[in-house]
Symmetry: C2
Subunit: 142 residues, 2 copies
C-alpha cells in the first residue's frame, strides 16, 4: 500500500523500518558470521529484484562468500570495510560497492560503530558458495 | 567491475557518485518539474531492476505523475514532502516511500534543503501519465 515508513531503533538498538519484518541473517548455522539483522524493504510483485537492508553490529561481520549473481551495495550508515577478492577497502556512509560474479566478499563493521547497508539482488539467484579446503578464498592483501 | 565508488559534490554542488554519469531528469520539456539530477547507480545485466538516485535542489519538485509500475523510494538526504494520491506527507532521511500502481505522486524539496532519494523500478516499465483536463489529479488535501 502507498505510504511512508520511518527509520527507527529496534529492540536491540539496531536501526530499521517500522512495519517491516526483521529477519535472522541466515537460518543455517554453518557459515561463520556475527551480529547481523536483515530486512527486505520492498517486495512488489512487478519487480524482479529485492532491496534488502543489513545491519552489522559494531565489530561484527558477514559471511565470506561468493556467487554468480551480482551484488549492488550502498552503505547507509556507519563505517567499516569490505573485502573484495584479495583487497580490503574502507567503506563509509553513501559509498557504492559493486561485487562482480564469483568475487569473494565480506563486510565488517568497525569496532564501536554499526554498519548498515542496502543490497540489491535479483529475486531469482544462485546460492552463495563458501571457501573450502579444495577451493580456498584468495589470501587477503592489505 | 568490483569496486567502491564515493559520494561527492558535483559541478553544481549536488551530491552523487564519482564515475557514474549524471543525467538530465527528462529529455522532453512538456512535464513540469524543477532542478533535478539523476544517476543510474547499478546496471548489472543479470538484474531486472534499476536503482536510480534523484536529487532535487532546494525548493525544487518532480513531475506530478502516475504509472502502472510500482515505485520503491528511500530518502537518502535532506527533507521535503511527497504527495501520494490526495495526501501530502513530510519525508526525511531514511524514510521509505511506497507508491502503488496508478497513484499520483510528486516529490518536493523544502526551501533551503536539497532532497536526495533512491528509487527502485523494473527495467521494463510503462511510461508515466500526466494529469489532463479529462482526468485531473485528485485535489490535494493538506
Amino acid at each position: 500500500m502507498s505510504g511512508v515508513r520511518r527509520f527507527a531503533p529496534g529492540a536491540a538498538g539496531e536501526l530499521g523500518w517500522t512495519g517491516v519484518e526483521r529477519l535472522r541473517y541466515k537460518e543455517e548455522g554453518s557459515a561463520p558470521f556475527r551480529d547481523i539483522t536483515r530486512q527486505v524493504l520492498f517486495s512488489q510483485p512487478d519487480q524482479q529484484c529485492e532491496l534488502r537492508y543489513f545491519e552489522i553490529a559494531p565489530g561484527g561481520f558477514s559471511t565470506l562468500e561468493r556467487h554468480r549473481h551480482t551484488h549492488a551495495v550502498l552503505i547507509l550508515r556507519g563505517h567499516g570495510s569490505v573485502r573484495l577478492g584479495d583487497a580490503e577497502l574502507p567503506v563509509a556512509e553513501h559509498d557504492l560497492v559493486t561485487v562482480d560474479p564469483l568475487t569473494w566478499h565480506q563486510f565488517r563493521a568497525d569496532a564501536g560503530c554499526a554498519l548498515g547497508f542496502l543490497c540489491l539482488v535479483s529475486k531469482s539467484r544462485d546460492r552463495p558458495q563458501l571457501p573450502t579446503d579444495e577451493e580456498p578464498a584468495p589470501r587477503e592483501i592489505r
